[in-house]
Structure formats: C-alpha cells, structure tokens
C-alpha cells in the first residue's frame, strides 16, 4: 500500500489516470480491490510501464481491435508463447488502450503463478486470474472480457524449434463459451516466440523449483517486434452432443488462430 502510494503520484501521468479511470471495472470494494485482487492504482502504475514496453520495446502493431466488443462477455483466445506471459499482457493492454470501446480484459494465468512471491500478487492486482473454470464462469456472468490461452504451459513453455506450431488446446474454453453463450474472438500473436527463445526445458531444475518448466533462454525478453491480429467473433451454440463435437469446434478456433498467425508472419518485415 505504501509503495503504491509512493509510486503512483511519481509515475502515473494524468492521461493514463484518465484512461484507466474510464475502463469499466465492476465490483471494486471500498479499499480498492475486486474479488480477484484487481487494484486500479496498481493497474495505473503497471499501465505506464507496459505502455513503454508496448510502444517502444516490442513496438506492437495491433489489427482488428474493433472485433473486441466494447461491452458484454467475451473470450479472447490466442496462441501462447514466450516462456513469460508477455503475450497476455500485450493483448490485454492493446484492448485497454484502444480508445473508444476500451475495456480491461482479465488474463487467465497459470495455476502456479500465485505460488511465486511478488509475481502472483502483482498479476492479480493488474487483472490476472488463475485459469480455473469456476473463475471464468463467474467472470463471464459478470460480463467481463477474458484472455485465454488454451495451450497453457504446453504453449508458453515450448522450445523455439516448435515456434508458431499450435500445441494441444484444452477444451475448457469451448465449454465455457457454449454454456455461457459467449463469443470467442481469436487472436494471433506473432513475435512473442522470439522474445524469449528457449533451446530446451531443463526438467529436473523445473521439478526441483516446483515450476512447470525451466527454459534455457535469455534472462530478459528480447526486443522482438510483436504483431497482434484480432479475428472476427465466433459464436458456438450450446448443442454439442459429445466431446467429439466440442473437439471439432476447438479445431475451428485453432484454424482461425492459425490463419491470424500466418497473416501476422506475412505482415512482419523483420523480427527485431
């Protein structure tokens, strides 16, 4: 609290203050927290830092932001990469900073993040939520926008040789979309694979530290250019008869994301 009180007046510009204040954030309590730990003041401080990364370090270009509805429940589903959840941060920032119709999407984070000191609390305070179906369901009922990476650690922790190859998607997001009548906006993220290329996953070290993977990679993200392509919303009725039906629908989303990735790679002039 004291660190926040110290940093906020020194780092947050009036412009950012007004941008974040305009974002719809339901259910913030009297002491500035929502049930998932989102704190607008911490979000403002982080917004400043992420804006610099977004504009100057990763030089992100986002296309199709109009496909993200300004209100109502929505799942923004993308490909996961880059060892760190930088893709989630950049996708969320792009939507929060898009001007008209901006909103703060909540990123679904890996379940082990809350067990990491500082990182877990910080991620919660800027809108991250562990990817639990109960969390997602409650947030969709509250008409929130969620950023989901159905590949999970399979995607983020994969080695560089598997870049831009979609890993197995969990089906949970599709069940949520169908049960809660929620549109899916696919997003293809290009560039995050190159921010932290991993040669190999050092499994014994990961096991020892209780982490899902331990990459042999640069210690800090490299300044690769990032391109985000948001696709048309996809709607799936809640009439699947079997898990096989669900799998077909998941494949439809994967295909849409693949197309968006291919478009992003074609748009990219240089990696760095």
């Amino acid at each position: 609290m004291r660190i926040r009180q110290y940093l906020k007046p020194r780092t947050v510009s009036r412009e950012v203050e007004s941008i974040v204040d305009r974002l719809p954030m339901g259910n913030i309590g009297s002491l500035g927290y929502d049930p998932w730990g989102l704190n607008p003041d911490t979000a403002k401080i982080t917004f400043m830092a992420v804006r610099w990364l977004y504009e100057n370090y990763f030089r992100v270009v986002a296309h199709g932001l109009d496909n993200v509805p300004a209100s109502g429940r929505v799942l923004i589903v993308g490909n996961h990469s880059g060892q760190l959840p930088m893709d989630g941060v950049l996708v969320s920032f792009a939507v929060a900073n898009k001007g008209e119709g901006a909103r703060l999407p909540r990123s679904m984070i890996e379940r082990w993040f809350p067990s990491v000191p500082f990182l877990g609390n910080w991620m919660n305070s800027v809108g991250g939520v562990i990817g639990d179906p109960k969390n997602c369901a409650k947030m969709l009922e509250r008409e929130e926008a969620l950023v989901v990476f159905p590949e999970g650690v399979r995607g983020s922790g994969k080695p560089y040789r598997l870049r831009y190859q979609l890993q197995r998607f969990g089906h949970g997001f599709m069940h949520l979309a169908m049960e809660h009548n929620t549109p899916i906006v696919p997003v293809g993220v290009v560039g995050c694979e190159e921010t932290m290329p991993s040669l190999v996953n050092i499994r014994p070290l990961a096991r020892m530290l209780g982490m899902p993977y331990f990459p042999l990679s640069p210690l800090v993200p490299l300044p690769a250019r990032v391109i985000l392509n948001f696709g048309q919303p996809m709607q799936f009725p809640n009439d699947a008869n079997s898990e096989r039906d669900v799998e077909w629908r998941v494949e439809e989303v994967k295909d849409a994301i693949r197309d968006l990735i291919d478009a992003g790679i074609a748009q990219r002039k240089s990696i760095f």
């Binding site: 609290m1 309590g29 730990g37 609390n121 969390n135 409650k138």
Partner: protein, 360 residues
C-alpha cells in the same frame, strides 16, 4: 428486560455446582443479560415488544461472538441459556450458565431442565486451543451428541457456526468460492480435519433429520472487539508477521455484523449451508497497515524456511499449519446468504481496522 429479572428467571439445579467452584461439568452463576457493546440501531429499528419466544441454547457462550448473539437474541425476546464446553479458563463471563463437557452424561440434564426450541452452536475449540485428539473429541464427537439430544428433545432449529477454513488455502483456489466447492482443508491441512468432520456431521443431519432445520454458516475472518482468533491476534499486535512477496486477499466481517447474521439465520431459518462474507476485500498487508501494525517480513521460500520462521516466533505468528491462509487468497462468495436473508453488513473495513488501530 433488567438484569434482575434475568437473574430471577435463571433455573437452578442440573449440575449442582457453581462453575466458579467446580470448573468443568459444573454450574455457573446466573447470567447477566446486559449489552456487550454491540450497536443498538438494528434492534431499535425493529422495535420493542417481543414476547417470550422460547428458550435457546447458545454454545461457546464465553466467546465474544456468542456474547453478542446472546444479547441480540435476548433483545428479541428469546430466553437464552449459555453453555460452554471449552473448559479452558477459570473465570467465565456472565453469559455462561453451564460449563459442561458435551460428552458427559450431565449434559442431557440441561436438555431435561430446559425446553429448548433452538440451538445456536457457536462453540468450537479452535485449532490453536488444544490437541488434535481433544479437539476431535469435543468438536466432532461432542457435537454428534448435541445433535442426538436435540432430536430426542424435539429442538426445532439448529444453527451451526463453521469456518471458511474448511475450503483450505491453496494457490489454485478460485475466487468467490461458493458453498458447493469441495472442503479441501482435510487434504491440504490435516490439522483442520475436525472442522471438516463437523461440517460433514451437520450436512448428514441436514438431510437425514430435516426436522432439526439445520443452518450451517461458514463465515470469513471474524474480527472486532473481543475476538481472539488468529487473524484478530495479528491485527491487534503492534508488530505482525507476513511472508515476503505474499499478501493474500482477505475478507473480514465485524463481530456485530456476524451476530446479526447468526440471529437472522436463526430467526428466518432457511435450512442449508451458507458462506457469510461481505462483498469487500483487502490484502493482508494492507489490512495490517490500516490496523496500525508494523510488518515483520519472514522468508517465504523455500516453504520449510517460512515454517521454521513462523515456529520461531511462537505466539507472535499464526499457527504453522494455518500459514497458507497468510499466503494464498481464500475468497468466499457470500451472495447466497445475503440474498436469502436480505443481509448487508453494517460495518465497513475501515471501521473494523480503526478499532485495532485505536488499540495501539
């Protein structure tokens, strides 16, 4: 109702010994039914004029919450018999009429002597107060007997106080845990198994004996004047420990609000299990700062080092096996209770922490 009138109504017999002399299994002096500091606005709004609405047994009558509940119930025209089974102290407040072990035969005499219409079972030996075996015997086996006697003597309403600890603290917990979420505490922290067993006991009776009209309340952290649970102890200390890099989101309910929740649940009586928590949240470290505590940072990784540090601090720190509650958020969804009983807490978090700040 004056204190004297209350005293005149107090029964005699059943144990035959004054608690002050006899301790456990004995009998306490007649209770005073005076105010205990709870705000009177709520009852004033409801107005006076309640008639005699039957006798209620309140267990754990020496506790701060029970004292509020007893005062509130008395104001509403109930005649309250306070029972304490936690024979851990020499002197009891006036709210305690009997100090008796539920597993001992004389306990049935309390039922024989009083024609109870309801029981508010607020007493539970907390995790820190005794050994696991003793807790199990008192909390689970004792409560089983309490419920058996309740059936035998035709008690119409039973309210039980559980705790949000039954959900367990884990990094993977979702937020806004609802009543259907598994009680993972038995797996995550075996020391709390008696709390889970107690809940299971009530759940079985809830469906097997609907005539008891059981309501189980799982409140978040109860805090405020007189409360001596782990979190209140931390807030009341000038220096409170916290783990480096962890500041879990928490919920707090003021003891007077919790008393109002107990009374509402008892009077309106919609059988079932309910979380009780306000729709307001604060992190542990923010709470400590608002309560005027200085933070003492303990190492958080590796976990074994954190446990050692907590153990070394003794009474200054929370119990070792509750450490995960000071590490991971356990946020419960109290909306079902709020909707069902039209309940809104009256005290804000700022008012709650102001109480602890004033103590320093």
């Amino acid at each position: 109702m004056s204190d004297n009138e209350n005293q005149e109504k107090k029964p005699s017999g059943a144990g035959g010994h004054k608690a002050a002399e006899a301790g456990r299994g004995g009998r306490k002096t007649p209770a005073r039914r005076g105010p205990v500091g709870a705000p009177r606005d709520r009852s004033a709004k409801l107005g006076m004029g309640y008639g005699h609405r039957g006798k209620i047994m309140v267990t754990g009558a020496a506790g701060a919450l029970a004292q509020h509940v007893i005062a509130d119930l008395t104001e509403r025209g109930y005649e309250v018999v306070g029972v304490e089974f936690r024979g851990v102290q020499d002197d009891y407040p006036d709210t305690v009429d009997y100090v008796i072990d539920f597993n001992q035969r004389p306990f049935e005499d309390v039922f024989r002597e009083h024609d109870f219409v309801g029981i508010a079972h607020l007493g539970r030996i907390r995790f820190t107060q005794s050994t696991r075996g003793r807790r199990y015997s008192a909390n689970v086996v004792g409560t089983s007997r309490l419920l058996r006697l309740a059936r035998k003597y035709g008690v119409e309403k039973v309210l039980a106080l559980s705790t949000f600890h039954v959900y367990g603290a884990d990094a993977r917990n979702p937020s806004l845990i609802d009543e259907e979420y598994p009680m993972r505490a038995a797996n995550l922290m075996p020391e709390t198994v008696d709390a889970v067993e107690l809940e299971n006991l009530f759940n079985i009776h809830l469906y097997k004996h609907p005539e008891l009209n059981i309501v189980v309340l799982r409140p978040c952290n109860i805090a405020g004047p007189g409360i001596k649970n782990e979190i209140s102890r931390m807030l009341a200390q000038p220096v409170a420990p916290c783990l480096v890099g962890f500041s879990p989101l928490m919920q707090f309910i003021h003891v007077a609000d919790m008393s109002a929740a107990v009374v509402a649940a008892f009077e309106q009586n919609h059988p079932g299990v309910y979380n009780v928590a306000p729709d307001d949240y604060v992190t542990y470290q923010d709470a400590l700062q608002m309560a005027g505590c200085r933070r003492l940072f303990l190492p958080s990784i590796p976990p074994v080092l954190a446990r050692r540090a907590v153990r070394a601090l003794g009474r200054l720190a929370p119990s070792e096996y509750l450490i995960d509650f000071f590490k991971y958020s356990v946020i419960i969804d109290g909306s079902l209770f709020s909707r069902t009983y039209d309940f809104t807490p009256q005290y804000s978090l700022s008012e709650l922490f102001a109480h602890y700040r004033a103590l320093k």
